[in-house]
Amino acid sequence: MKTLLNTGVLLLWGLAAIACVDPEDKPSSVHDLRVLGVSTEQPELLASTCEQTPEAFDELAAEVTYRALLVDPAGEGRPLQYQLWACADQDDRTCANAADRALLAEGTTSAGELTLPIRPGAARVAEDKLLLERVLEEDAYQGLGGIRMPLVLRVAAGGEEVYAQKLMVFWCPVVEGMKANEQPVLPGLRVDDVPWPEGEPLELSGPGPFVVTADDVSDREEAYVVPGLRLQAVNLKEAWEIAWYTTLGEFSLSETGGADFGGQQGRHRVEWEPAAGATAQEVTFWAVVRDGRGGSSWLVRRARWTP
């Protein structure tokens, strides 16, 4: 216990000190090539049985839609090269191991939403082995958290290069009550308690800060069941997180929501502050929601801001 307390003390000192240091590059401030979010539709594939039957593998080999939110505000519409791989090892952040990867798609695109139909469950790697089996072999937890297949998107333009790894979850009903995850979708956003429409930019003026909130999502957060490490059923409830992004200024918090280990959930409230000295311009905002089990989606909003 003494060691834990000592460690905790050091951690607290460290966190307090880090709070005093202000890095220049802020997560919420979008100014170069980035991948802000990735989702798959469906977010996970649930086989009807855990028996390794051809039917079960067919269910897991279903086509899903892969979406990636690419931003490149300084790129002026330049083409972005991309490759999408699936591979076996989660620690292989770039799918560098050629023997354990399968190329799902490649090409050229531009900033915005990249949409690709893929069938990762059907991907095969060296020796014509089903990638799903290789993923399971690499999993120290032997599939108790589902078969989590890394999907790695490489995006490059000019000298910039980004690898984005998303885990695609393949399940089977290990314990009673399991059902496939549903995509989390934000109902809407508000600025200073005023609904923020999707279609047209909102007029904002002044130095701010502007309070941005998400409409209540508590009724959309799913209760779900997963197998426990002792093969028992464990009941969980989603606690969505929202990541906030803007092309001008920064948000007070780059992430909101989620739950801490005491079950305390955050509220989705941030303050947006335009950059000092900025001129009037149209600003793009993104709110990327994650449900904590692989589901994700995003909202895009615009505003015409004047000082």
Binding site: N6, A17, V21, L144, Y224, A239, D260, F261, G266, G294
Partner: protein, 942 residues
């Protein structure tokens, strides 16, 4: 010329004078007197530790448990042969007198090996006195029953008598007229009673005189009339006053004597013979006045060789490459379960209550166990035997008091308590915003209480005490200490990101007894203790209430079989029972496999976990003297039972010393050391690992200690340690036979290695008039830490702590510091002023450099992975800092007021404590350390 020992002198300044052996002054020839007074003795070896004088309650070190491992002058030196100094002719011609103050070093065989004047008197007095004293012969002094070199302070008085008057005839003999002067001698500023002082009227050495007793009382019969009172006492300025004494009347007085020297406290130098290769001792005065430590005794340990600097002011002890938690800290032999108050605040050991600190960086004897790093032994303070004393201290964070007093003859009590008041100050400085609330309520308190019994105040040595007690003697004490820390943090409101509530409460209480029995060559020390621990933690809906009970005992039996062979053996047993009531949302990776990213809210789990553990040790060791060699072989057999775990570890140890000369000692040690895992780590999977075994270490060292002069001491020690089977977190993932998979939270995969050289140069104050003291501490070392097996799933830190490595499971310890230099110096400016400084330089800790070439974004976690160079291939900038402390004291008749200003980081060095990376892992940022930080404190004592 016989010397008549008197009662032990007591009551010098704030420190009771221990290790002093007073002798009554003796008149010389009627016409020309060279009068000597042996006024003080103290053990000599270099380090300024307080010697345990003929202290009744302290047992000999051989048989003592850690708490009683104090030095005892078991036999004081006696002057067998005195040589009169010739009166310097020139001084005689001029009618000059003088008192030459000398420091005499008495060798173990009783001969005078060195004589140094402390206050040159000139006019040939010094040379004459030194020449005479060099021919003195003493009976050998004994420390802990062993002949040992000691040092005494000696004043050689050269006085001139008035011409002899014609003796009256019998018919003229007047009727004897008498007046009585009675009173008490009290130390100014502390109210300590001054024992062993000489009181007389005038400076005629033939005049009647009285010597004050242990309570400072005296009674002097003199002819009536005006008495020019002169009081001479070691460690005090000459006291002179005039009293008009009436015939056949008794005049009652109290004389307040001013301690000598610029400081407010008397210097008593000593060091007991070392039974370990390296033992560093810190006195209470050093602990309280080392700059930059806020007077915190545990933090002073960090200034000693072999201890790496811990980040910030956390005070963690990183000893010879070991990790936090691997150095045991004990108070009088009983483990202190929690070392520091809230958030790395002050240590739970009140500086006022300690007598001294012993620090063993390694190579300690078989009596000690349950640590693979070092040992810190806090020796507590015995209550005053003369009268009530106390102090009150107030500083930035807390206020406390200390009281000590005799209850009746042989029984004394000491008590201290402290409480923080930052909980009352914080609301005034916390920000207040509409739409949000922030409440932080930290508070702590601690206490210590000690009652001693069995002391024989009139005994000057253990032999004498035993004789007074009828051949066998029992002494002992009962002590209680404890601590309580609470922290409540509430933040929230509609304009905050989340509502947060944290409640923590940690407390412990310990009661220990100590019974020491001595008879002849046998010494037995029995130390039973019981304890209660409580922890409470609430965070949202998660809560944990833990209760722990401890019962333990030590028995140490020492027997001096012959002057060459002493054997010690004993038992060290402890049983703990811990239970926890836990309510937690199902924690990820313990109950289910977490998906990276947002943590879901788990179903509430309610558990009651209880576990008992026993750890016992049987130890035996012997001191065998062969010529100039001393061999101390020993073995400690450890047995642990925790839940279903049964562990055994055998720790053989050997210590060898070679006394090359009286001033030089070569020393070496090697041995095995074991530390049991804490009880809570043995709870069942997935929250514990019932299969844990002892953590082990091999420690070896080789060094030399040389006394350059009486006040300069040099110690150079090399060490090589290997740690193995250390407990690290987490362990590997295992499959259960009945299905299911777990990651074991702890495993015995930890290994480590450290080697280095430590240098300690210490200058101590020779006497109260010596102004300067300090030490230089330097360590050159390399520390490695890691795992014997592969890195577990999720990486895991080395040794359960530190940064995650790459595929390598063994490398530089995150605390490795190649060079650790500390300079500590204190100077007594006089008039109550004292100035101290501490300068530190350490090599920066290892870091793994960023090597960013492209972004690696983990979408589900919304975090970026870093790309790094080789593990621990870079270092942070070196740390350097100067701390300064200024003390000012005012001594009043009955009490003393002290004020101090302790300034950390005087020149505001921008040191780096940690580094962290920006969110895309592209750039490294440095986290600065503590800026300049002045702290003011006030202390009043009486």
């Amino acid at each position: 010329m016989a010397h008549v020992p008197t009662a032990p002198e007591r009551g010098a300044g704030g420190a009771r004078s221990r290790g002093r052996i007073p002798y009554a002054p003796r008149p010389m020839s009627p016409s020309l007197n060279a009068r000597s007074a042996l006024v003080a003795a103290s053990l000599l070896l270099g380090t300024p530790a307080l010697a345990q004088a003929p202290q009744d309650a302290a047992p000999p070190a051989e048989a003592a448990p850690p708490a009683q491992a104090q030095p005892v002058i078991t036999k004081p030196p006696e002057l067998l042969q005195q040589v009169e100094a010739p009166y310097p002719p020139e001084a005689l011609a001029e009618g000059l007198t003088a008192s030459v103050r000398l420091i005499i070093t008495i060798a173990a065989d009783g001969s005078v090996s060195d004589v140094l004047p402390t206050e040159p008197a000139g006019h040939g007095f010094d040379e004459a006195a030194i020449a005479a004293v060099r021919q003195f012969r003493f009976s050998p002094a004994e420390v802990d029953g062993v002949p040992a070199p000691v040092q005494v302070e000696y004043i050689y008085h050269f006085t001139l008598d008035a011409p002899p008057q014609e003796a009256p005839g019998p018919e003229q003999a007047p009727v004897a007229r008498k007046a009585t002067l009675k009173g008490q001698l009290i130390s100014r500023g502390s109210r300590s009673r001054v024992a062993g002082a000489t009181v007389r009227c005038g400076d005629d050495p033939e005049a009647p005189e009285a010597v004050s007793d242990a309570d400072g009382r005296f009674s002097l019969d003199v002819p009536p009339g005006e008495c020019a009172v002169r009081v001479v006492a070691s460690g005090y300025q000459l006291y002179q006053t005039k009293e008009l004494l009436q015939e056949d009347e008794t005049t009652e007085v109290n004389f307040f004597l001013a301690p000598t020297g610029g400081a407010l406290e008397t210097v008593v130098r000593s060091e007991r013979p070392k039974k370990e290769v390296v033992r560093r001792t810190i006195t209470r005065q050093e602990a309280q006045r080392t700059p930059g430590t806020f007077g915190d005794p545990i933090r002073v340990i960090q200034t000693l060789p072999g201890v790496a600097r811990a980040p910030f002011i956390s005070g963690q002890l990183l000893v010879r490459g070991s990790n936090p938690g691997q150095t045991a800290t004990m108070m009088d032999g009983v483990g202190i379960p929690l070392l520091f108050h809230l958030l790395g605040g002050p240590s739970v050991v009140n500086a006022e209550f300690i007598d001294q600190l012993d620090f063993f960086p390694g190579g300690y004897g078989s009596q000690y166990g349950r640590a693979v790093g070092g040992i810190v032994e806090v020796g507590t303070r015995k209550g005053a035997a003369d009268t009530l004393h106390g102090s009150v201290k107030v500083d930035l964070l807390d206020a406390g008091f200390f009281l000590e007093a005799p209850v009746k003859d042989g029984i004394s009590v000491a008590a201290a308590a402290r409480r923080s008041y930052i909980d009352t100050l914080l609301p005034a400085v916390l920000p207040k915003d509409e739409g949000s609330t922030l409440s932080v309520v930290p508070k702590y308190w601690d206490y210590q209480l000690r009652v001693d019994f069995g002391a024989k105040r009139d005994a000057r040595s253990e032999d004498e005490a035993q004789a007074l007690a009828g051949g066998a003697r029992s002494t002992g004490y009962v002590m209680a200490f404890g601590s309580d820390d609470q922290l409540r943090l509430v933040t929230g409101g509609p304009e905050t990101e989340r509502d947060l509530t944290v409640d923590t409460h940690t407390l412990f209480h310990r009661i220990k007894g100590d019974w020491t029995y001595r008879k002849g060559a046998l010494t037995s020390v029995f130390t039973p203790y019981v304890g209660y621990d409580g922890t409470s933690f609430k965070f949202g809906v998660a809560k944990q209430d833990g209760v722990g009970y401890t019962v333990g005992a030590r028995e140490v039996l020492g027997l001096e079989l012959s002057p060459r062979l002493t054997v010690r053996t004993g038992l060290d047993l402890v049983y703990e029972h811990q239970s926890f009531d836990v309510e937690f949302p199902a924690p990820e990776n313990f109950e289910y496999v977490a998906f990276p990213g947002a943590e879901s809210v788990g179903e509430l789990l309610v558990e009651h976990i209880g576990l008992g553990s026993f750890d016992g040790a049987l130890f035996v060791e012997a001191d065998l003297k062969v010529g100039k060699f001393i061999f101390t072989p020993g073995v400690r057999a450890n047995y642990q039972r925790a839940g279903d775990a049964r562990n055994v570890a055998l720790d053989p140890r050997l210590w060898v010393a070679f006394n090359a000369t009286e001033r030089t000692q070569l020393k070496g040690s090697l041995g095995l050391y074991s530390q049991p895992g804490e009880t809570f780590r043995f709870i069942t999977l997935p929250y514990g690992n019932p299969d844990l075994s002892y953590q082990r270490a091999f420690q070896s060292s080789l060094g030399v200690e040389h006394r350059l002069t009486d006040v300069f001491n040099v110690d150079v020690t090399g060490f090589f340690n290997r740690r193995f089977s250390n407990i690290v977190a987490p362990g590997q993932i295992i499959s259960l036979p009945g299905g299911g998979v777990f990651q074991v939270p702890y495993s015995n995969d930890g290994i480590g290695r450290a080697l280095g050289v430590e240098v300690m140069v210490k200058k101590q104050r020779a006497s109260a008039t010596d102004k300067w003291s300090g030490w230089l501490s330097y360590t050159f070392s390399q520390s490695l830490d890691g795992r014997a097996g592969p890195l577990p799933e999720g990486g895991g830190g080395f040794g359960g702590f530190g940064p995650t490595g790459d595929d390598t499971a063994y490398g530089l310890s995150p605390f490795d510091q190649t060079h650790i230099l500390t300079l500590v110096s204190n100077y007594v400016l006089g008039n109550g002023w004292e100035l101290g400084g501490r300068f530190r330089y350490t090599t920066g800790r290892p870091t793994t450099p960023l090597n960013h070439t492209f972004d690696q974004y983990q979408v589900d976690r919304n975090r970026f992975s870093g790309m790094y160079g080789p593990y621990a291939s870079a270092r942070m900038r070196g740390f350097h800092q100067l701390d300064v402390r200024v003390d000012k004291g005012w001594r009043f008749q009955s009490w003393t007021l002290g004020v101090y200003l302790d300034v950390q980081n005087l020149y505001n060095a921008e040191n780096t404590e940690f580094t962290f990376n920006d969110y895309r892992q592209r750039r490294e940022y440095e986290v600065p350390g503590i800026p300049i930080l002045p702290v003011v404190g006030v202390k009043g004592s009486f």
